[in-house]
């Protein structure tokens, strides 16, 4: 089957289409698979704002750094967050200057740390989208059950639909979305129906293995070709090409827990601005577990010429940004898209010779 899909994508000669993957792991998986070199040039794949680390504003990183330098406090977080710049420094840099920062694989690891060192105040740098947010609810369950008073989270939690809405509203040049596979595990595929209806734009939920990418992209291009027909038949333009783990309703237990601990609020996306209701914050009754996550809206552009927002909207390619591969590189990222290995400029940088 996969060979047929590949052949179809290679020989595709219909209307030029632009597909956006809103998920950073898709960006990385697409680059790793080399799929762009084996599909028709009429199928363009562009990367969206789907790396939660990259889109955390500088004010959030500054707050983590502030806490890391505080007497008796230790920041714990995922590896990738160590590299993202605040207004002046990264967590990595501050670690060399007396900041206390520990990298963990899972937020659950911090429970053990907090029990072993009751005198230390642990703050978990809790970034993430819908996939990771329920993990923090399990962490909070444990913190509450164990009556731990030395573990808090500093959140920069974001949801996908408001930013997809923002992209569409802003006139992004996108014909269809490769919907984030692991976000959809939690949210379910029905999550995208309102957006698909509002903008008459197809969503295809896709996995991450090379073959799954091929299948998903094939399915989405087919949907685009049949779009008018599908709409005329009253079909919803949301298809699940990752059925092994994604269901229409998602993980309802996880969704209920998210709703129990968190409430929506405005959130600043690095380089893009404040998007209403795109963030999640601990509800007031859980304020004791919050290390001060609200209002970290400061988003200092490192370089005024940075055009990340337009790259993210698919309006320009990385190469059209005046900073790209000149002053902006993975070792000195100037904007969100170059920060993480999931960022679109980062991936384009690696492939800049092609």
């Amino acid at each position: 089957m996969i060979e047929q899909y590949m052949k179809y994508l290679k020989e595709y000669d219909g209307a030029p289409v632009t597909l956006m993957e809103v998920c950073g792991s898709h960006t990385a998986a697409i680059a790793k698979s080399g799929i762009k070199t084996v599909i028709s040039p009429k199928i363009r794949l562009v990367s969206g704002p789907g790396c939660p680390v990259c889109v955390s504003p500088s004010g959030y990183v500054d707050q983590l750094i502030h806490l890391a330098l505080e007497e008796g406090a230790t920041i714990t977080t995922f590896g990738d967050l160590m590299r993202i710049p605040g207004s002046k420094y990264t967590l990595n840099e501050i670690k060399g200057q007396g900041g206390k920062v520990e990298m963990v694989y899972s937020p659950m690891d911090v429970i053990r740390l907090a029990k072993e060192h009751p005198q230390t105040r642990y703050v978990f740098g809790a970034v993430g989208f819908e996939t990771t947010i329920p993990v923090y609810t399990v962490l909070l369950d444990a913190v509450i059950a164990e009556k731990l008073t030395n573990l808090q989270i500093l959140t920069a939690l974001k949801c996908m639909p408001p930013v997809i809405d923002w992209l569409c509203e802003g006139g992004a040049k996108i014909d269809a979305f490769i919907a984030p596979g692991h976000v959809s595990v939690i949210t379910g595929s029905d999550y995208y129906i309102p957006l698909a209806k509002k903008y008459r734009i197809p969503f295809g939920i896709t996995g991450f293995q090379p073959k799954e990418l091929v299948a998903g992209i094939y399915g989405i291009v087919r949907m685009l070709e049949k779009k008018e027909e599908l709409l005329a038949q009253g079909e919803v333009l949301v298809k699940n090409f990752y059925p092994s783990v994604v269901t229409p309703q998602g993980n309802e237990k996880a969704l209920a827990k998210i709703n129990g601990y968190f409430e929506p609020g405005p959130a600043v996306w690095r380089g893009m601005g404040n998007i209403p209701d795109s963030g999640l914050y601990l509800r007031p009754e859980y304020a004791a577990y919050d290390a001060g996550s609200r209002g970290l809206d400061d988003d200092r552009k490192i370089n005024q010429a940075c055009r990340c927002d337009q790259v993210l909207m698919g309006k320009i390619s990385s190469k059209e940004c005046p900073l790209f591969a000149r002053v902006c590189s993975p070792l000195s990222p100037q904007g969100a898209c170059m920060v993480s290995s999931e960022g679109s400029c980062y991936q384009n940088y690696l492939n800049r010779g092609n």
Partner: protein, 334 residues
């Protein structure tokens, strides 16, 4: 016993440490003279290298900093075609280090030196403030036999690239022991003396050898492509990685092509010599899984790319351009 600043004073405590730990394990005629410098025989073209080792934890699955420092230094000498002969070592101990641990590290270092056929002929110990850690600097000396010319710049179009075994084991073993992922992946740290010795004994015309260490295969080969002005093309399906290491990488969002190794090498040989080279490497310790993973092209006649490019054909037939490692390869979770 616990290491204190006194062990670095140059007085009685230092002498005791040298006598009971270093001299006992490294025991050889040159070191035993205990002079200010070692005088050793040798002539011809001399290869010299130095390396520092700062790994944490200092003992990890499959090895320790002692074995690592011998392997790293010996392999660097071997990669220029030299026969490694002598090592020096400088230990920088943090106060609080346990001498029992130090004994194990030094014994492991001595055993690895014996395996690699080198003598530790000079050493030094200092103690600094800290919390029980230990760092080692080594220098290595070897001799390059007549007629052997191996360098990073002598990669030629038409060469095939042989990788001596599975990628990523060392990196995964170290990182796994730091994070809460348990597995039976062990470091591949190993001296490649026999492997290179076999290639020379079989008179294989090796153009380039490189040990695949920090930065991983992609970084090493990208640098080789650039320094020789060629295009290197690899096939992903042919690059050996254990399934456990693949899944370890999958859990952390890492790429085996950028994972560090400490007992693997790349050899570039003319296509006509590929079988001969493979048999020499596979016959050696640590080389049984050696395979051809790619080819070297003249930029003018390469199927794709330009001078200095490293290209990888993916399982779905796509072409991925690989760069050197950016940053430090931190785990990616979200």
């Amino acid at each position: 016993m616990i290491v204190t600043m006194a062990h670095g004073s140059g007085g009685a405590a230092t002498s005791e440490l040298i006598r009971d730990i270093f001299a006992r394990s490294f025991d050889n005629d040159v070191l035993n003279e205990m002079e200010d410098s070692a005088v050793v025989p040798g002539s011809g073209r001399i290869a010299v290298t130095t390396d520092s080792f700062v790994v944490t934890p200092i003992e990890y699955p499959g090895g320790d900093i002692g074995r690592l420092c011998v392997c790293g230094t010996v392999n660097d000498l071997l990669m220029r075609g030299a026969v490694p002969k002598y090592l020096t070592c400088g230990f920088i101990l943090q106060e609080g280090a346990d001498t029992e641990v130090l004994k194990r590290i030094v014994e492991s270092m001595a055993a690895t030196a014996r395996e690699a056929g080198v003598k530790v002929v000079a050493g030094d110990t200092k103690v600094i403030e800290g919390n029980g850690g230990m760092l080692i600097n080594t220098a290595g000396v070897g001799f390059v036999p007549e007629g052997i010319e191996v360098s990073a710049k002598s990669l030629k179009p038409g060469d095939v690239l042989i990788l001596s075994g599975d990628l990523g084991d060392h990196h995964a073993a170290i990182l796994g022991s730091r994070l809460s992922i348990s597995n039976d992946i062990v470091s591949d740290n190993a001296p490649l003396t026999e492997m290179v010795g076999n290639l020379q004994a079989d008179k294989v015309n090796v153009h380039t050898m490189r040990d695949v260490t920090r930065g991983g295969l992609a970084t090493v080969l990208k640098e080789l492509a650039a320094s020789s002005g060629v295009v290197i093309a690899l096939e992903e399906d042919k690059i050996p990685v254990k399934q456990s290491v693949k899944d370890f990488c999958g859990l952390l969002g890492l790429d085996p092509l950028y994972m560090g190794n400490e007992g693997k090498m790349i050899a570039a040989v003319p296509r006509a010599e590929a079988e001969k080279a493979l048999s020499a490497i596979r016959r050696a310790a640590y080389g049984e899984k050696a395979v051809v993973i790619g080819e070297v092209y003249d930029p003018a006649s390469a199927p794709a790319g330009k001078a200095g490019d490293l290209l990888l054909t993916t399982p779905i037939g796509g072409i991925r351009q690989l760069d050197v490692l950016q940053g430090e390869g931190l785990p990616r979770i979200c």
